[in-house]
Symmetry: C2
Subunit: 132 residues, 2 copies
């Protein structure tokens, strides 16, 4: 298991946290700026995968200003390195303005090009331990 | 976008389909046989990520014989290649014995070692277009 024990891995977690911080204030640009042109994207509210940054941008621009989750936490981040690929996975808990709790699983596949890491694949999902 | 246009990519989709075929008959061994020792795993019924093949084996053995989904389909598979990494993503629709429909998103990160591909990361989730 590749725990978080290298400079690159810390850098990736830091990139993700910075983008999440903006996301939770309603600003999707943090993720858009670090996603690759060929990014593909899943979240539970989409019937199908989004393919490509243009599609993700259209979707995220529709959500701009609508997320407000000042309280949130990344839990148990893990980075699996395979050459120029870093697979970051974590649990994410967030609370809306009325303290509704959302519990997420997240997978982010980062790809290195030169000195730059970009997200090539995103998968967000909701935890449903009751099978709901 | 890396569409499915190489021998390796066809091989990966074929591996996944073969494992799914067994899974839908209640046999988890198809996935266990092609998962790496350091595989990590998310599905919506688990609060937390499972880390490692031993943990996944314990979980899957508890489900042996309990899945019966003769009707199922993989939709829109896409393989993103990054060196020795292949990120396979697809929608998956399955129907239980009483025709209950389940709609899934799936991400599988395959890692090549020599001539062998193994799953290093699995993320299954349920589509919830109504935000339920």
């Amino acid at each position: 298991m590749n725990q978080i024990d290298t400079h690159d891995n810390y850098e990736i977690v830091a990139m993700e946290l910075a983008a999440l911080e903006r996301w939770c204030q309603g600003d999707p640009s943090g993720f858009l700026e670090i996603s690759a042109p060929d990014v593909v994207y899943f979240d539970p509210f989409l019937e199908r995968r989004l393919d490509g940054l243009a599609a993700l941008t259209r979707y995220y621009e529709g959500l701009r200003g609508k997320v407000d989750a000042p309280r949130h936490e990344m839990v148990a981040p893990l980075v699996q390195r395979i050459g120029d690929t870093a697979v970051l996975s974590f649990n994410f808990n967030s609370w809306g303005g009325n303290e509704d709790e959302y519990r997420w699983h997240c997978t982010e596949v980062y790809r290195r090009s030169g000195e730059t890491w970009r997200i090539a694949h995103t998968h967000w999902s909701l935890v449903q331990p009751d099978g709901a």
